[in-house]
């Protein structure tokens, strides 16, 4: 585990201890779950925690987990804020595909020698993020101004978004060779994969932005009671527009990471199931689907739990086809533990026996 994960973790633990009692309980349980999974990983493969330096790159299972988690952390940050406003964003996977498709199609024009400042790598990345922002704005518009249920509003883009991505790539899965764009997905700085820095930066910046300003409070307020927030003078529409737009931008960035990793943009496969994995991480992190209190750090922990679990399944002798089953069972287990009704039932059963 890198220090950059542990330090905010400790700080947050301290924060939580003085903060809300129940949330700190949940934080501890998630950390316990993560540690247990990591120990299981260590038991399955003895060199799980070993990290080597090869060609200026750190190589090791833990680094892999961080690398694979990065795009999901980006998605989970956006999704957490959206869910906190009592919404949901089903379109992030499709937006990933759109962002990746846009960037790859534009960069290929640059590689083909077309002289246009818009086709230079820097601009291409900005344009892809801008397209993500547009997708998010569209979702936000539907939810905030047309008052459409978030699940349907974003279902529209989830379904048509894949078509749009295919339209951009003209039905192909274009590959590219540009190193600057590839760096987003597979570059390294000080041995660590670049996506890890992106995810960490996004986590820190968004956390500071929502917690050092009143925005975070307003998001929770809108999620808990939109009516009361309105009477309290909160511009609920603006808040909703903001969270969906942020989710769109972060999804496009995740799309760039995925495109950079494989140096291509597949309109079908890029971000497939990503929306569901992101929602899963957020729910494991304890943000309620009915809106309100949220915790970005917990959602990140949720992503790490899911990814460590997947790694454990890969390194174990378990047949790879069992992955989904184990994932489903673990998720159900976590959900049941979070349900007060289930805990009551358990307590009653235990009492009866003793």
């Amino acid at each position: 585990m890198g220090e950059h994960i542990l330090t905010p973790l400790r700080n947050k633990m301290a924060d939580l201890r003085v903060g809300i009692g129940e949330a700190s309980g949940r934080a501890i349980w998630n950390i316990v779950a993560l540690v247990l999974i990591l120990i299981a990983n260590r038991l399955i493969s003895p060199n799980f925690f070993s990290i080597r330096m090869v060609n200026g790159r750190l190589i090791g299972s833990t680094i892999n987990i961080l690398d694979q988690s990065a795009p999901f952390v980006l998605l989970a940050i956006g999704m957490t804020l959206v869910i906190a406003t009592k919404g949901i964003d089903l379109s992030v996977g499709a937006v990933m595909a759109i962002g990746a498709a846009t960037a790859v199609v534009l960069i290929n024009r640059y590689e083909a020698g077309q002289e246009n400042i818009l086709y230079t790598p820097g601009f291409v990345i900005l344009i892809a993020l801008g397209v993500g922002a547009l997708c998010g704005l569209w979702n936000g518009l539907l939810v905030a101004f047309f008052d459409i249920q978030p699940i349907i509003a974003t279902l529209i883009l989830m379904i048509s978004g894949r078509g749009i991505a295919q339209m951009i790539t003209e039905g192909q899965s274009p590959t590219f060779t540009n190193e600057t764009l590839a760096f987003v997905g597979r570059g390294t700085i000080f041995g660590l994969p670049f996506p890890v820095y992106l995810a960490a930066a996004a986590l820190i910046i968004v956390t500071l932005f929502v917690r050092r300003t009143a925005i975070g409070m307003m998001i929770e307020s809108v999620g808990i009671n939109a009516k009361a927030s309105y009477y309290a003078g909160i511009n609920a529409r603006l808040i909703k527009m903001f969270v969906y737009t942020l989710s769109g931008v972060l999804a496009a960035l995740a799309g760039l990471i995925v495109a950079g990793e494989v140096k291509s943009a597949d309109p079908h496969k890029a971000g497939e199931w990503a929306e569901l994995d992101a929602i899963l991480a957020v729910v494991i992190g304890g943000t309620s689907l009915s809106g309100g209190r949220f915790n970005l750090f917990q959602s990140t922990l949720g992503v790490l739990i899911v990814q460590s679990l997947l790694t454990a399944l890969y390194v174990s002798k378990l047949h790879p086809t069992a992955n989904l089953v184990v994932k489903a069972i673990v998720v159900l287990f976590v959900l049941l533990l979070q349900s007060p009704e289930f805990r009551d039932t358990l307590t009653r059963l235990v009492r009866k026996r003793s």
Partner: protein, 335 residues
């Protein structure tokens, strides 16, 4: 005309207009061949869509149907080909498994108050995962019973083949309409979707109804899996990927509100056929790229939702854009 019938009426009108337009372009749309193919090709979406309509009417959602279809196909193929079980026995077994699966999801949703979205999402992972665990190969089924079923076909004079799948689809839709409007269970579903606390106070057995609804949805998804297995004569664990979203889109296009309590099974029937008609048109046309179908479905979804919004709100279009809607309570996340 009562306004609650209006979305349904509009869906019908758009479907009719679209069909007439297609007919003017390609006269084959007037043949039983196209009609039968529409029913047959969409049976595996239409059958679970009836179940999902009940789930959405009750105020819930079911994301697991596509995976249940895949699991059913793989389970039947393995049972019949590897274990030598008679197809009918295999069907009975898988229907029992599917129904139990749905009832379990319903019980978790009801008793432990976990959002349906997340419970059925885990259900989706579980069913798909079980299909993968059983086998990742595509297994073809050569049992004589399958051949017999494929011979169960009514051929129209213009060579339109009304197959078992098409018949099963129609029967399920008709039964669905009957159950929704002429049984106590159907009324209970509408009541719970309208207001579950109110329904509970009026003595509606909320828990039993919700569990039955999810069991019904999984039962129909399993049945769709059987129908698909019969027409494909194989079991494949990657089949019907993403079908749950197509099904939900069909239900919404059909005029059912995702908040629950409002909607009709017949609307879902049209909602399933509408993308099918567009698909047939694009296939016949050949010059339009396949990605347009997804974009058009998105546009249709947007159009229908906008329409429903206009009809369900008491205010005019301009008011809707100008005034904040918070006074009517915010939209829920669909859980």
């Amino acid at each position: 005309m009562k306004s609650r019938f209006f979305p349904l009426f509009v869906t019908f009108a758009i479907f009719t207009a679209l069909y007439i337009f297609c007919y003017t372009q390609y006269s084959s749309f007037g043949s039983m061949r196209v009609v039968c193919n529409l029913l047959r090709n969409n049976a595996h979406l239409g059958i679970p869509a009836v179940g999902v309509t009940f789930v959405i009417l009750s105020g819930g959602i079911d994301l697991s149907v596509g995976s249940v279809i895949a699991f059913t196909g793989v389970f039947c193929a393995l049972m019949i080909e590897r274990q030598g079980v008679h197809p009918l026995a295999a069907f009975a077994m898988v229907l029992a498994i599917g129904t139990t699966f749905g009832a379990t999801m319903g019980a978790i949703i009801h008793y432990f108050k976990i959002p349906a979205f997340i419970v059925t999402l885990s259900g989706m992972f579980l069913a798909r995962g079980m299909a993968y665990v059983l086998t990742t190969d595509s297994i073809s089924i050569r049992h004589p019973f399958y051949l017999k079923v494929s011979e169960l076909v009514y051929v129209f004079p213009d060579k339109g083949r009304f197959t078992f799948a098409a018949g099963a689809f129609l029967v399920v839709v008709i039964l669905g309409i009957f159950v929704a409007h002429f049984t106590r269970y159907g009324r209970n579903v509408y009541a719970i979707g309208g207001n579950d606390t109110g329904a509970l106070m009026l003595g509606v057995p909320v828990g039993r109804t919700i569990i039955t609804t999810y069991a019904l949805s999984s039962f129909l998804a399993t049945f769709a899996g059987i129908v698909l297995s019969l027409s494909k004569r194989s079991g494949d664990s990657t089949i019907a990927l993403g079908a749950e979203m197509d099904v939900i889109a069909a239900v919404v296009i059909g005029g059912t509100l995702l908040t629950g309590g409002v909607g009709y099974v017949i609307g879902t029937f049209i909602g399933v056929l509408l993308p099918g008609v567009i698909h047939t048109y694009l296939t016949l046309d050949g010059s339009l790229s396949p990605w347009w179908i997804k974009i058009i479905i998105g546009v249709l979804l947007f159009g229908f939702i906008g329409l429903q919004k206009l009809l369900s709100s008491q205010t005019s279009v301009l008011d809707m854009i100008r005034l904040p809607q918070v006074a009517r309570g915010s939209a829920s996340s669909g859980d």
